[in-house]
């Protein structure tokens, strides 16, 4: 109980100070809004349906890019860890592309794919791709070599080894990568929607800032945080269900 109340103390002080500044300072008008105004803006956009539309569009882009990245990066990461030739050929190219911040791809993505779903999914895909790739690679390359040696006494089939040993052993890393990748995907779609977009949470937020509507900007920031939290919680929840535990370890 005491711990709980202490944890609430600081947010209460912050909100009170924010309310005071927002309400009392005339200079703050159009720049800072009170917490009540943020709540009103939030409720209003939820009631008008705008909120759900924006969240839906952004989620679709984030999940689309993330799923594409997962399908490409997880097998590639595992394959690169187990096949030295592949690693030597593709590794250096990926190591050159990886430090290029995904954000730097945005202008090019708009040139290539326009302002619709394509460019957003491309950006989200790049961000999640490397996160998932690195995690899958690490997991697949740290499989106990003794285990792999033991397997060769039972079977010489590389396919069976891959299916029954490498894949299960790498799954934990792939899942971790998928979880981090999902968080990155959500951040990626927000930044991708700032430029060259006409829908989505990111677009709505920047648009509100350009129109000097701080309450709407902050309501959207709250939305970003809530969706980010929920994506993480739902992902963890799915992994921890009985079915998830059975098949995904």
């Amino acid at each position: 109980m005491q711990r709980f109340s202490l944890g609430l103390l600081f947010p209460i002080v912050v909100v009170a100070a924010w309310w005071f500044v927002g309400a009392s300072s005339p200079a703050a008008h159009g720049v800072i809004s009170t917490p009540a105004e943020v709540v009103i803006a939030f409720v209003r956009s939820a009631a008008s349906g705008m909120l759900w539309l924006d969240v839906g569009v952004s989620l679709l882009r984030a999940l689309g890019g993330w799923a594409a990245a997962l399908v490409l990066a997880a097998p590639l990461g595992i394959a690169m860890a187990r096949i030295p030739t592949l690693r030597r050929v593709i590794g250096p190219v990926l190591n050159v592309l990886r430090p290029i911040s995904p954000v730097a791809w945005i202008p090019v993505a708009i040139l290539w794919f326009g302002i619709g779903y394509g460019s957003k999914i491309f950006i989200v895909g790049i961000i999640s791709f490397f996160v998932i790739l690195v995690n899958a690679f690490h997991a697949a390359s740290s499989i106990d070599p003794l285990l792999l040696k033991a397997v060769t006494t039972f079977t010489s089939s590389r396919l069976r080894t891959a299916l029954h040993v490498v894949l299960p052993a790498s799954l934990r890393g792939v899942i971790n990568g998928a979880q981090f990748g999902l968080a990155s995907a959500w951040g990626g779609v927000i930044i991708a929607e700032y430029t060259g977009a006409n829908s989505g949470v990111g677009y709505r937020m920047l648009n509100a800032a350009n129109l000097f509507l701080p309450a709407q900007v902050m309501a959207n920031m709250v939305t970003v945080a809530i969706i980010g939290y929920l994506l993480n919680a739902v992902f963890k929840g799915l992994i921890n269900t009985r079915v998830g535990r059975k098949y995904l370890g």
Partner: protein
């Protein structure tokens, strides 16, 4: 051994050869407009142009300044907050829930409100880079202090170390590897965030340069700028990794995240 290393280097090189061949072939076959896909040669020429352009250098310098300023403030604030989180139960109870909540308000989400609050002023950019680096530095510092071997602490106490000495001579040195990992991640987050902020709301900086080049359909310059961005990101990361390997060879860094 030696020959196999040469072979290894050679196979590493083939990836790039393939990349360039595919790049050139795509241009020869599809004949895309230079706006859509500049040739490798044009991109290289644009890179040379950037190297000779004072304005481009100034853009790079401004971006680096913004990152350095925000990163410095993040170190000065993040490390003490991390220490306090690890050492004081009261501080942890008061602050930890709030920090955990703010973690979900990602740095990118602050860009619009920062542009509203600060306009084009530099402090807005520094705020973004600070915010991007602060959390990972604070949390890595906290985690680093928490994993310090209790036997070390007990031994130091037996030898009469006070709480300040304990912090300076036991906790911080033992936590240093994880703090440095936090700094490395924080710097890379700050670098990504400043590019994002400059794409959206800036009149200078390498992110602005890239966006501007694309707006004027100079994708050769945009591609070259991406190369510059990649090189800077790589050097930042490498500098910290070398530091980690040289100074803290005894500590195995575990960060599958990045």
């Amino acid at each position: 051994m030696r020959s196999s290393r040469i072979v290894q280097h050679f196979t590493g090189f083939t990836g790039f050869v393939v990349l360039f061949v595919v790049w050139e072939a795509a241009i020869a076959v599809f004949r895309p407009a230079p706006v859509v896909l500049p040739s490798p040669w044009h991109t290289f020429e644009a890179l040379l142009w950037i190297a000779h352009s004072d304005k481009a250098w100034a853009d790079v310098g401004i971006s680096l300044f913004r990152v350095a300023a925000g990163f410095a403030v993040a170190i000065v604030t993040g490390v003490p907050v991390g220490i306090a989180l690890a050492r004081s139960a009261f501080f942890r109870h008061v602050l930890a829930p709030t920090l955990e909540g703010f973690r979900f308000v990602i740095p990118f989400a602050w860009i619009p409100i920062a542009s509203l609050w600060f306009g084009l002023h530099e402090s807005g950019k520094v705020f973004i880079t600070w915010y991007a680096a602060f959390f990972v530095i604070a949390f890595q510092t906290e985690a680093g202090l928490r994993q310090v071997d209790e036997r070390l602490v007990k031994a130091a106490k037996t030898l009469g170390a006070g709480s300040r000495e304990l912090l300076r001579k036991v906790y911080v040195p033992a936590a240093a590897p994880m703090i440095v990992t936090g700094l490395r991640l924080g710097l890379s987050f700050a670098w990504i965030s400043i590019l994002a902020a400059e794409l959206v709301n800036a009149k200078a900086g390498i992110g602005y340069f890239t966006m501007n080049a694309a707006d004027f359909f100079r994708s050769d310059q945009a591609f070259a700028a991406m190369g510059v961005i990649g090189a800077i990101g790589f050097l930042m990361d490498r500098a910290f990794r070398v530091l980690e390997r040289r100074k803290f060879a005894w500590h195995r860094t575990t960060d599958a995240i990045q």
